[in-house]
C-alpha cells in the first residue's frame, strides 16, 4: 500500500525551516559585519555612564579591589568589559588595584588581560606598588567573607606568585574590605552576589559589577536597592564603555554583528508566526 503524502505549501516550509539553513544565515550575518563594519549607532546607557563616572572620579591614592571571576566559556563576552575597565583603571594616575578571584580560571585571564593591554609598565604602573594580584581562593562566598576581614591572613601573607605581601608598598595599609574605595566584580555567573553579600552588605563598600548580559535581569532588584551601584551589561555595555573612554575596540566593532543578529532573530520570530498561522498546522488549531 502506498502512503499518500500531503504536498507541503510554502507556509509549511517557512514554519519549519531546516536548522542548517538558519545556522548558515546566522553565521553569515555575524561574520560579515566583523569583516566589513557598517557603523550602526550605539546609544550609551545610563548604567554604563554611571560606571564610567565612578572610575573617572577616583583620585590619586584611592585603592580599588578587582574581583576577577573570569570563566573561559564566557570570556568572549565578559572579557570585553573586564579589559576596558582594567584599562581605564590603569590609565588613571595614582589608582591602586588589588585583585583576587573565587573562580578557578580567573588567574589565567588576569595575566592575559594585562598582556593584552600591553603590560603594567606601559601605563607607568609597577607591580607591588600600584597593582597586586592575590590569585585564586577556593570556597566561593566563604572566601569572600575571609578576604573581607583579613586579606593577608587568608592569602597566607603571599601574593599569587609567592612574593611576600608585607614587602609590597601597596599592601602596607591595605588588609580588609574597608580599606578599599570601590569594589569591581567581574562575574562569570553569580559571584557578584557572593561579593555583595560579604563586602557590600556588611561593610557598605560600593560594588560595580561586570556580569553576563543573561544575568542582568536577576540583578535588577539589587541595582534598584543600591546594593549594586551600576553594571556593564555584557558586550553591549563594553562597547558603550569603549566609546565613553574614546578607545573603540573589539566590543564596539562587534556591535554591528550583535545588532544584525538580534534583527535576524526578530525576523525569524515574525516569519515563524506568520507561516505557522498560514500553514495547515496553524489552521488546525
Amino acid at each position: 500500500m502506498v502512503e499518500k503524502t500531503e504536498k507541503k505549501t510554502i507556509w509549511d516550509r517557512l514554519a519549519n525551516l531546516p536548522e542548517q539553513y538558519v545556522y548558515v544565515v546566522l553565521a553569515v550575518i555575524l561574520i560579515a559585519p566583523l569583516l566589513h563594519p557598517i557603523g550602526l549607532p550605539i546609544p550609551i546607557s545610563d548604567a554604563t555612564r554611571k560606571f564610567f563616572v565612578a572610575i573617572d572620579e577616583l583620585k590619586p591614592g584611592d585603592t580599588v579591589f578587582y574581583a576577577f571571576d573570569a570563566g573561559s566559556m564566557t570570556w568572549m563576552e565578559q572579557g570585553l568589559g573586564a579589559t576596558i575597565v582594567f584599562k581605564h583603571l590603569l590609565m588613571k594616575p595614582g589608582i591602586r588595584i588589588v585583585g583576587a578571584t573565587i573562580g578557578a580560571e580567573g588567574p589565567m585571564f588576569w595575566d592575559n588581560a594585562i598582556k593584552s593591554l600591553g603590560g603594567l609598565a606601559s601605563y607607568g604602573k609597577e607591580y607591588g606598588k600600584d597593582v597586586v594580584w592575590l590569585g585564586f581562593f577556593a570556597g566561593e562566598e566563604t572566601a569572600c567573607a575571609a578576604l573581607a576581614k583579613d586579606l593577608k591572613g587568608t592569602s597566607g601573607g603571599v601574593d599569587a606568585y609567592g612574593s611576600k605581601l608585607d614587602t609590597m608598598p601597596l599592601m602596607t595599609n591595605v588588609n580588609k574590605a574597608t580599606d578599599f574605595n570601590l569594589l569591581f566584580v567581574l562575574s562569570y555567573g553569580w559571584t557578584w552576589r557572593s561579593w555583595m553579600n560579604q563586602w557590600q552588605m556588611p561593610y557598605g563598600i560600593k560594588e560595580y559589577a561586570i556580569p553576563l548580559a543573561g544575568v542582568v535581569a536577576e540583578m535588577t532588584p539589587n541595582i534598584k536597592a543600591g546594593q549594586i551601584q551600576s553594571i556593564i551589561n555584557g558586550a553591549r555595555g563594553a562597547a558603550e564603555y569603549e566609546l565613553l573612554l574614546g578607545k573603540p575596540g573589539r566590543a564596539a566593532s562587534g556591535m554591528d554583528a550583535q545588532s544584525l543578529g538580534h534583527i535576524y532573530v526578530a525576523i525569524l520570530i515574525v516569519v515563524g508566526n506568520i507561516a505557522y498561522f498560514a500553514s495547515k498546522g496553524g489552521k488546525k488549531k
Binding site: 550602526l40 546609544p43 535581569a217 553591549r236 525569524l268
Partner: protein, 214 residues
C-alpha cells in the same frame, strides 16, 4: 559508638560552627568577645577555604577512578574519550605543578586548547538558542503570546540598534526591567531566602542531615 562518630559529632560541629558564624555576622559584640568571635570565625572560614581546595582534588581523583575504570574495561564508544580526558588532565597537572600556571608553557596550553574549546561550546549554544526561539516562540495561546511579545521587545531593546531606531524602546525596556521583571525576581529571591533560612535553622538545630548522607 559508630553512630556517635558518624552522626552526633558532625551534627554537633555543624551546630556550633553555624552558630559562631551566625553570631559573628548578625550580633554586635564588645571586646573581649568581639575579637574572640571574630578570630574564631576567621579560623573557621580559613578551614572552609582549605577544605574547598581539597574538594577540587577529590574531584580530580573521582575523574581518575571513573575514567580509569572505563579504560580498563575498554568500554565501547567511551574509553578513547576517557583516555583523552585523563591524558589532557595529566599534561595540564604536570605542566602546572612543574613550571607553574604563570609559565609560558601552561599559558600556551590554556590559551590554545582549553579556552578555544570552552568558548566554542558556549558559542554553539547561541546558534541552538536562535533555532529554538524560531521553533517555539509561536503565539499558540495567550500565555505564549505574552511571552513572545515581551521577548520580542527585550530582544530589540537589548541590542544597540533597537533604541537607536526607535528611542521610546529604551523607556519601555527600562519599565519592563524595573517593574514586571523586578517584581518577579523579588518573589523568586524571597522564596529562595525563606528556603535558605529554613535550611539554616534546621542545620543549627541539628535536624538537617542531608550533608551526612540523609
Amino acid at each position: 559508638m559508630s553512630q556517635i562518630i558518624r552522626r552526633y559529632i558532625p551534627i554537633g560541629m555543624m551546630m556550633i560552627l553555624g552558630l559562631l558564624l551566625f553570631a559573628e555576622f548578625f550580633i554586635q559584640f564588645d571586646d573581649p568577645w568581639k575579637s574572640m568571635v571574630s578570630n574564631s570565625s576567621m579560623e573557621v572560614q580559613n578551614y572552609a577555604i582549605i577544605i574547598a581546595g581539597f574538594a577540587m582534588g577529590l574531584g580530580a581523583i573521582n575523574l581518575l577512578i571513573t575514567h580509569g575504570s572505563s579504560i580498563m574495561k575498554r568500554e565501547k564508544g567511551q574509553w578513547p574519550f576517557s583516555a583523552w580526558l585523563l591524558g589532557v588532565m595529566i599534561v595540564f597537572t604536570v605542566v602546572g605543578l612543574w613550571l607553574g600556571t604563570s609559565s609560558n608553557q601552561y599559558q600556551f596550553l590554556f590559551n590554545n586548547f582549553y579556552y578555544p574549546n570552552d568558548t566554542t561550546i558556549y558559542s554553539l549554544i547561541g546558534f541552538m538558542v536562535v533555532y529554538a526561539i524560531y521553533l517555539t516562540f509561536r503565539a499558540k495561546t495567550y500565555e505564549t503570546t505574552y511571552m513572545l511579545v515581551l521577548a520580542f521587545l527585550a530582544l530589540l531593546g537589548n541590542s544597540p540598534i533597537g533604541p537607536a531606531l526607535f528611542p521610546p524602546l529604551t523607556d519601555l525596556q527600562n519599565w519592563l526591567s524595573s517593574v514586571p521583571n523586578t517584581a518577579a525576581v523579588r518573589g523568586f529571591y524571597m522564596a529562595m531566602s525563606i528556603g535558605a533560612i529554613v535550611v539554616g535553622l534546621r542545620t543549627l538545630m541539628g535536624r538537617e542531615r542531608a550533608a551526612l548522607g540523609g
